[in-house]
Symmetry: C2
Subunit: 207 residues, 2 copies
Amino acid sequence: KIPNPSLTRLLAIYHLLEQLERENVKSVSSSELGKILGFKPDSIRKDVSYLGEVGNFGGGYEVLKLKDHICGNLGLDRKRRTCVVGLGRLGTAILNYDDLNENGFSVIAGFDSNINKLETITTPVELFPAHEITEVVKKKGIEIGLIAVPARAAQETADRLIDGGIRGIINFSPVAIKAKNNVMIRNLDLLGECMILSTLLAFREKP
Amino acid sequence: KIPNPSLTRLLAIYHLLEQLERENVKSVSSSELGKILGFKPDSIRKDVSYLGEVGNFGGGYEVLKLKDHICGNLGLDRKRRTCVVGLGRLGTAILNYDDLNENGFSVIAGFDSNINKLETITTPVELFPAHEITEVVKKKGIEIGLIAVPARAAQETADRLIDGGIRGIINFSPVAIKAKNNVMIRNLDLLGECMILSTLLAFREKP
Ligand SMILES: NC(=O)c1ccc[n+]([C@@H]2O[C@H](COP(=O)([O-])OP(=O)(O)OC[C@H]3O[C@@H](n4cnc5c(N)ncnc54)[C@H](O)[C@@H]3O)[C@@H](O)[C@H]2O)c1
Ligand SMILES: NC(=O)c1ccc[n+]([C@@H]2O[C@H](COP(=O)([O-])OP(=O)(O)OC[C@H]3O[C@@H](n4cnc5c(N)ncnc54)[C@H](O)[C@@H]3O)[C@@H](O)[C@H]2O)c1
């Protein structure tokens, strides 16, 4: 089992290796990776070791080899089926976010409680009314749900997704959602992040 | 100095106290707070103690008193001036996000490198071309910048904001930004969160 901080570092290393591959760099050392990413070389070597032997060539890693090693071991080449619930300002931005599809997260359904939205939004994604969430998630084997509904509808939306068999949720609403059935929830709370920033700034200003 | 995990918990406690105040609840104990939020009562008592004495009435906190105590000590009633850079799908959603203004984060400027966008977007917020970021941030005393530009423009955008005297940045692009001048950066990376979820799911599926 890989601890979360190592996982986040491995993903950052993977992103960087993709960039180095595009720039035709053949090999890179853990201290060079550390310098670019701001991690200690020791923790990089330890993170990579969680994935088993990768072969270190005289002080450096082969870029392509390490990249494929991380990709295979973390299942980054897996395709995931996702859906967006709530097709307002934020939800429509996510519905058409090309980076998701390009990185193996295909958005295959959108849901909204307002029937008019379903008819007026132009998108290649199939749209459904909110009361069909559980049925559609089950039928299409959707694994990850992105929640972009108002705070008061967030828990109900999560419950509907979970009843349909969703396995992971990304919650954009500013309230905490209670999980059931071992479903993993990641919160992306813009308001919460602004408040943390504001508080940290207030501490710096204190006389 | 309050550790970040305590800070995040105190903000969650504050949000909950706002809700209890609306429901006319007069007092609440640390174990009740713990049960609702999923924190240990000890850590709640410790978090609150960072803010100095608040007076605990026979096993409970007065809701209003604790709320104002957290608000005053964390500077949550401070108004912050913010701006949005990049007025595409995500940026326009943020520009019109009412929750920001309602919680003391007034969005007072928007920027884009595409001049056409500045003329076609309907919003009460004043819009400027991207090359004026440094000048406008300085003139209007903007404290927090929200970056919603493509990955290749993220670092340049951060540098322009920092040159203008920005104090905190929230970065929505999927690349890590290098900070200067002691500026604080918080990343909200949807793609990164999806990849972490996908990796955690892959581990569960491993034979
Ligand atoms: N706009 C932003 O930039 C932004 C940024 C960060 C977080 N958020 C959060 O994202 C959420 C959506 O914000 P928004 O600005 O897009 O709001 P919005 O009002 O523009 O959109 C909300 C959408 O959800 C739909 N909806 C309401 N109840 C529903 C239900 N039970 N099931 C399915 N759909 C339902 C509405 O019909 C509407 O289309 C909010 O929780 C908000 O706090 C928004
Ligand atoms: N769309 C989403 O739902 C979503 C979700 C999460 C993260 N993101 C991230 O947010 C960023 C924006 O995504 P989007 O979907 O809104 O893209 P978009 O292409 O719709 O919008 C990008 C905007 O940035 C402007 N721009 C480009 N270079 C600029 C510069 N140097 N200075 C100022 N403005 C500049 C463009 O003119 C455009 O209006 C990307 O980094 C993306 O990865 C998007």
